[in-house]
Symmetry: D2
Subunit: 345 residues, 4 copies
């Protein structure tokens, strides 16, 4: 349950309402400010949660589906999220559905390996117009024998790449204990789709100020995904970007989700044409398709020296950096075609 | 098992090999000519089937996966299939992957209702450049209470529409007893994806001369689908066009299948952006996506007076005829973009 | 839509109502008598179907879900179906949920191969207490190169087995053109789960007098399956037995369906522990599980000389005939345990 | 990759091999002792990992599937795991496949609510013969608005229940930061199936001494599940019990997994008949089925006062404590029947 307080309710009064709402030992409650509004999040079963009698209370917001803050009709989730400082290469994602804004896009290797190579890739994709570099410090690996990313050890290297190429960086995190340190370096924190049920991680991401890039779990429903986003918003961080990819059984690129999300949430939606297809040869068709379906952006696997990657298999995903600008232009044209052919029935 | 005979083997000799190969009471065998080559199809478990000692025998072709004729590497399946007489509006489908050919496309209502409306629709889509009209006589319905199509009763109406609009017609058939009569009127026979296991129907379709448009079953694997096509080729009809649509759990437009089929078969592949999305508002994005993925054609639900359809729900699928030419042009541009950005790794 | 007529409405009057209800050229309607009640089945979209003003009309029965006759609350579907003549080894299936009736069961090879072996198997399973022999004449095969069963050629052999062993026989049929001839020999006609959308086949099965054993499609929902049964009842044959097996993605034995069907239909439900598991070593656990979940019967792959089967792989499914009686007794105990532990909440 | 060292290799020498194997900055390696054998776990891509030249090295153990330690043929995973002190009510799970051991079972509410009620339930299920009480401190919740369990706040209550009822306790944990504290109180730590990709959590569980009860993820393959277990073993804790439940799309009780695991791993396998069915009325059939399929144990939702639970919906899952002993006896009979009917082909 959510309790919305009157606009302008001072922090102290909000804390007081939270204390009363969470009076039962198996209920916790805390205030959050989002989009200029003040809420008290009440975590506990409906039968125990109480709406205190307080003049600060504006309305009780029932949450039968487990998400309320993310939903379009409630006006809390932002239409645009900015990754990096707009003064630099940073740019807002989203908002384009109604205007004529250009596609946002980021590129880079899935995992940060050598810092030197990463700088080179960062410069190459920036030259093509990329708005951010993606380079993961942590990877959700299904086996203890695979490289899980540099983790906290790689923070310095990431900071160096960011500085040297002067481009915002996006990196994955999967341990709640590492969120704080990573947030000090990265411009955006990425969450693997297999961590949508990692509640402690999502709570930490909600309690720090960087935008969160939330991948869809390969088998997650749209509601599962939106509820994971709700965990982040419910801790006070509304800067969530949804990144669609493969979904369903067997997994295939889930373009339909892009259109389906539009009706449910204002949060920006980008698409990953690389992991969702598993092959560089399908990056162009998948990117065009995502753009036609209305994606606000693209997150593309690309690097300058794929032959130097730790796993030869990873190289097969890498789209050549020199074709990125052409790819994005073609995607913008496909998006414009789809818009001009839109049928409203 | 297949037995390939020497090129030029006379019919009588082929029949003789078939008689020997099918000598066991639980084996049947018959000759077919495809792509200038001669085969004997042997239907029966491997332990019973025999390759006769005959000078006509060129090679035994094992069929462990249940399909051989459809597979690209065996050179039997055609790269192009022609629907209707090329002298009229008819045109070949396929072959475009290597050249610069234009997209083939057909449009029309799922089921033929009023002949008068169908003529009007046929003229409207022909004016936009359609290469065929689709109007079903039979529908695979999941309930005995729904309109199953006019069936054989509608043949005259279909013939009239075809004549009046001078456009090739595609119609669905689901009863093996109706194939012969329908083939006398229609230019192409469509098979619903839920009939891929309807062996008697597929056998009849293989024994008549019209091209067959074989939809993908919503839960069929690519191999299931190709084996259904193999049933048609194995009876002597190589003019099969595969029509991709929704697939997977939950069902979503299966664009990946288009690319995946390219590596396996030369049979032309078209896409149905209407049933696979269930909404006219998604026809444009789905068509653009299919074209980017390399589809040879599109099969679009469209009609001039959707408000007169029997079921109001059906109207929601209908793309406006007047936008069809623009849609197809945009699709050709998306296809060209994807081709020019192709990465071979 | 269904129209229920007053009990005792004469055939002529029912035909008259049907003629009026199906007056539109795209509506067909016909009368059926089921469970002492008279209905007119109206096949055509709701917007076209008419309920005639006639004193014979008792009530309009809307069919929004595509099934009405099969549903428990409507009292048309029978609680018991009898396969074979009860004077012989034949016995009713079902009815046991409320009484203490013993399990019904049948066994035999999936496909009839040698008549001689089939007689031997029939005698062996009859000696163990089987109520019927299953031996298929037609198999739904996914490849044209596999043995599709003897088809109509095998009718004489089947008749001989039935006579020699004096046991009811169940056989599969998949071509609507063969239904009539098969119904003259077999005591029960089995339909493969991949034929649930084969409308012409189901209609023929509804128009003949033998019980129909309707397998669940591996990917069919309960509603898909019940709608297929509705096709049979809607043609006048209420003797439908549902046979559960594997379901879901990936396929696994669908025991839950047994319990779920109880709440929806009175039609008897049996289980196939052989095809649903693919291994003789899992037949005992799957049979026990099915019985615990409330199955009315079992359909078990078994034969006396598995090493003589056409495909060595088939032998791996065969449960030893000599253990069948013990298996069924154990299943009855498991069923009794489950009943005595039933919790109603 | 794993490196097996010679038996008896001293800790110092093992650390030395690990240091050499993990010399590359993107490789980590550490020694573990399991089942009297010594291994060095090497985490990092194959192209970077090195097997040092050392007399301590016995063999390189490739891990292409991501699991080696859990696999039956490698003899490391234990056949029996003991929860609680065998001197008390504690008992080993597993080992029964070859002997005549009785089923292990635990019962209790999913989440610990009131300590007083939990003591009462603990005494009730202990009187029926339960070997442990399950009472969760943390629940993996899909929404921030639902009760996530008492978390660390509830440790004292759990300790009290354990002491008062003198029964081993099993409790869920989902935050790596809480593992250490929970392991000081609980006899077994349960992991929700949606945490199989929560690498930091699994690593912490591998580094503490309590047995781990690892639920199957509803959409996890057997390999996904075994790889999660491998994470725990790879940190040195071999006491893993696998708990099967619902799986597949749509989810249904996954009994087949029990039999399938037997061929792959010696780790004990238990079944959860409550969450996998969602209804107390299906607990008996599901338990009987699981036992017939060879489960080593059962984990049953049960409590004395379901009407006092926070969520009325949870009460519908609770099996009545007074029928538990009868249920388990019936399950043992079903298991014995299945064993005596076992077919080995």
């Amino acid at each position: 349950m959510l309790i919305e307080l009157r606009p302008g309710t001072p922090a102290e009064a909000a804390e007081e309402v939270a204390a009363l709402a969470g009076a039962h030992e198996d209920v916790t409650a805390w205030p959050v400010s989002l989009a200029g509004r003040v809420f008290v999040v009440v975590s506990g079963d409906e039968s125990l949660a109480r709406v205190p009698a307080s003049p600060a209370v504006l309305a009780r917001r029932p949450t039968p589906d487990g998400h309320w803050l993310v939903r379009r009709e409630n006006g809390v989730a932002p239409r645009e999220v900015t990754i990096g400082s707009p003064a630099g290469s940073g740019r807002e994602i989203g908002g384009g559905a109604v205007g004529g804004a250009r596609l946002w896009w980021a590129a880079g290797p899935c995992a940060l390996e050598s810092a030197e190579d990463a700088v080179e890739t960062a410069l190459a994709v920036k030259a093509q117009g990329a708005h951010a570099l993606r380079a993961g410090l942590s990877k959700t690996r299904s086996s203890p024998y695979n490289f899980p990313g540099k983790g906290a050890r790689g923070l310095e290297a990431l900071a160096e790449v960011r500085r040297a190429a002067a481009i915002p960086v996006i990196t994955e995190v999967c341990d709640p204990r590492e969120v704080e340190a990573v947030a000090e370096v990265a411009d955006c924190l990425q969450v693997d789709g297999r961590q949508l049920d990692n509640r402690p991680l999502l709570a930490e991401l909600g309690a720090q100020p960087r935008p969160v890039l939330l991948m869809r779990g390969p088998r997650a429903s749209l509601d599962d995904w939106l509820r994971a986003a709700e965990f982040v918003l419910a801790r006070g961080n509304a800067a969530v970007v949804l990144c669609a990819g493969a979904s369903g059984t067997p997994p295939q690129p889930g373009f339909s989700a892009i259109a389906a999300l539009r009706a449910r949430t204002d949060l920006p939606v980008v698409f990953d044409p690389s992991h969702s297809t598993g092959s560089a040869s399908l990056v162009a068709p998948a990117s065009l398709a995502a753009a036609a379906y209305g994606a606000d952006g693209l997150l593309i696997e690309s690097c300058v020296k794929p032959e130097r990657m730790y796993r030869p298999g990873d190289a097969a995903h890498m789209f050549p950096p020199e074709s990125l600008a052409d790819l994005v232009s073609a995607c913008e044209r496909a998006r414009d075609s789809a818009r001009s052919l839109a049928v409203s029935r």
